[in-house]
């Protein structure tokens, strides 16, 4: 639960205004972007996703570096991705 996982914004997810479709580690998931209110967000932007919420906007370089780091973590990262796959927020 403490890991922030980078995801790439795909577009609006429909439904609630705060939801966006984000691609995280090859999976597309709805993510809540309400905490980034007031910031400009466009498809292709990267965000750090924490328990279903985008917590901050990051650069693509940073996103790739964080992903490489997370993959190196092994089990804790796999657990987090499994939890995320099972998640289906609305």
């Amino acid at each position: 639960m403490c890991l922030g996982i980078p995801g790439e914004l795909v577009g609006p997810a429909g439904g609630h205004d705060d939801l966006a479709l984000v691609e995280v580690s090859g999976v597309r998931r709805r993510v809540n972007i309400g905490l980034l209110e007031g910031q400009e967000l466009n498809p292709g932007d990267w965000v750090l996703v924490h328990v279903g919420f985008a917590l901050s906007k990051i650069s693509e370089d940073e996103a790739q570096a964080v992903l490489a780091y997370l993959e190196g973590l092994g089990q804790p990262y796999e657990d987090e991705i499994d939890a995320l796959r099972a998640s289906d927020i609305t």
Partner: protein, 381 residues
């Protein structure tokens, strides 16, 4: 990918290690606390202490939210889970955390409906899909997670989901750091500040550490090179006689934090007068409860809780480990009675707990006979 190269760069790490050694004053030792469990994990996984000169030691702090949950709160949650019609939800990290009467895992095996979720919003969804059940989200975490809980409660209120409530156990990092600074048994020279917590609270709340306690703090990223850079920056401040808050992790942490997140916390939660931290005891104004306006979503008001305080097991030395006074392997039950499969203390449960991190990655020979924390216990194999 410039950053990947830069941050996976062994040459850069070597240069930093040399720079760190060069900044150490002969005859002086330095103890820096990394507050965040994520940093502890990186340090052990990459054997970072092995790249540091013997004068510099890293002391592991209380920044793993799973580790600081007191046993009584786990028992309260298990009690709620046992009430008729209740679905208890929480993060997977909590499954094995022992309370006085057992863990979620045990309660689940005994028939309680306890479900692991990725997000508090998943818990809210379960509530909407099961209107005849009472769905409780056991919220844990520092300021990184609290905004997500707050936003979820705001959604529940806006949409009117009466069968949803939150058992709020959010804790705050600043009062914990202050408690450590005020504890007499620890000498620290500076802090490696948490990354994601700071993305929410920003860097300003740490100012008192530099101003009132004269200790430098550097907010740091999670990669090995980030941590080495932060140690280098801390030593630089000390060498120049400066005591400041610096931000090594500006790639993610804005100096002012995330105002939307802080506002959400401020709307939905209020400070508790005091809260018990596992191993550290009661710390004033160190945790959040649900605000009066959201009482209908507050599991502490919706349910009658036993609220019994449970003393930590006698064999457990988590308090000393969480304060950085003892290294994990110095605990009497480490690796024998206490392992990740059968944890006695919480530091062994989460992969970010110091004991679990060391248990999983410890690959150095340790000299148990050498002095107190603050001295170097790592001898190279």
């Amino acid at each position: 990918m410039r950053f990947v190269d830069e941050y996976r760069d062994a040459d850069r790490a070597r240069a930093l290690a040399a720079g760190i050694a060069a900044r150490c004053r002969p005859g002086r030792t330095y103890a820096f606390m990394e507050v965040c469990g994520g940093h502890t994990h990186t340090i052990y996984k990459h054997g970072l202490e092995d790249h540091l000169p013997p004068e510099v030691s890293l002391v592991h702090g209380p920044g793993c939210p799973v580790c600081v949950i007191p046993m009584g709160r786990v028992d309260d949650a298990t009690h709620i889970a046992g009430q008729p019609g209740v679905i208890m939800t929480s993060f997977g990290d909590l499954l094995r955390v022992p309370g006085g009467t057992g863990s979620f895992l045990g309660a689940k095996a005994a028939g309680a409906d306890i479900r692991m979720v990725y997000s508090p919003l998943d818990a809210l969804k379960i509530a909407k899909e099961n209107p005849d059940r009472r769905v409780v989200f056991m919220a844990i975490g520092f300021e990184t997670t609290a905004p997500s809980t707050a936003m979820t409660v705001l959604r529940a209120a806006a949409e009117g989901v009466p069968n949803f409530s939150v058992f709020c156990n959010h804790v705050m990092i600043i009062p914990a750091i202050k408690a450590i600074l005020d504890s007499p048994d620890l000498r620290l020279d500076g802090f490696i500040g948490p990354g994601h917590v700071s993305a929410v609270i920003g860097c300003e709340p740490y100012a008192f550490i530099a101003r009132d306690y004269r200790k430098p703090l550097v907010v740091a990223g999670f990669e090995p090179v980030d941590i080495l850079t932060s140690v280098h920056m801390l030593l630089g401040q000390l060498a120049e006689g400066r005591c400041e808050v610096e931000n090594q992790y500006a790639r993610v942490v804005p100096w002012q934090g995330n105002p939307v997140a802080l506002e959400a916390i401020g709307r939905v939660m209020r400070l508790r007068p005091h809260f018990e931290w596992r191993g550290l005891g009661f710390i004033a104004h160190s945790a959040l409860a649900m605000a009066e306006e959201y009482a209908a979503f507050d599991a502490e008001r919706v349910f009658d809780l036993p609220g019994i305080r449970v003393a930590d097991p006698r064999s457990c030395q988590c308090g000393e480990v969480l304060k950085g006074v003892l290294k994990p392997w110095e605990c009497k039950v480490f690796g024998t009675a206490c392992t990740p499969e059968t944890p006695i203390g919480t530091c062994m449960v989460s992969s970010e707990g110091a004991c679990a991190a060391y248990y999983n990655f410890g690959r150095f020979t340790r000299d148990r006979t050498r002095g107190p924390a603050g001295e170097r216990e790592v001898s190279r194999a």
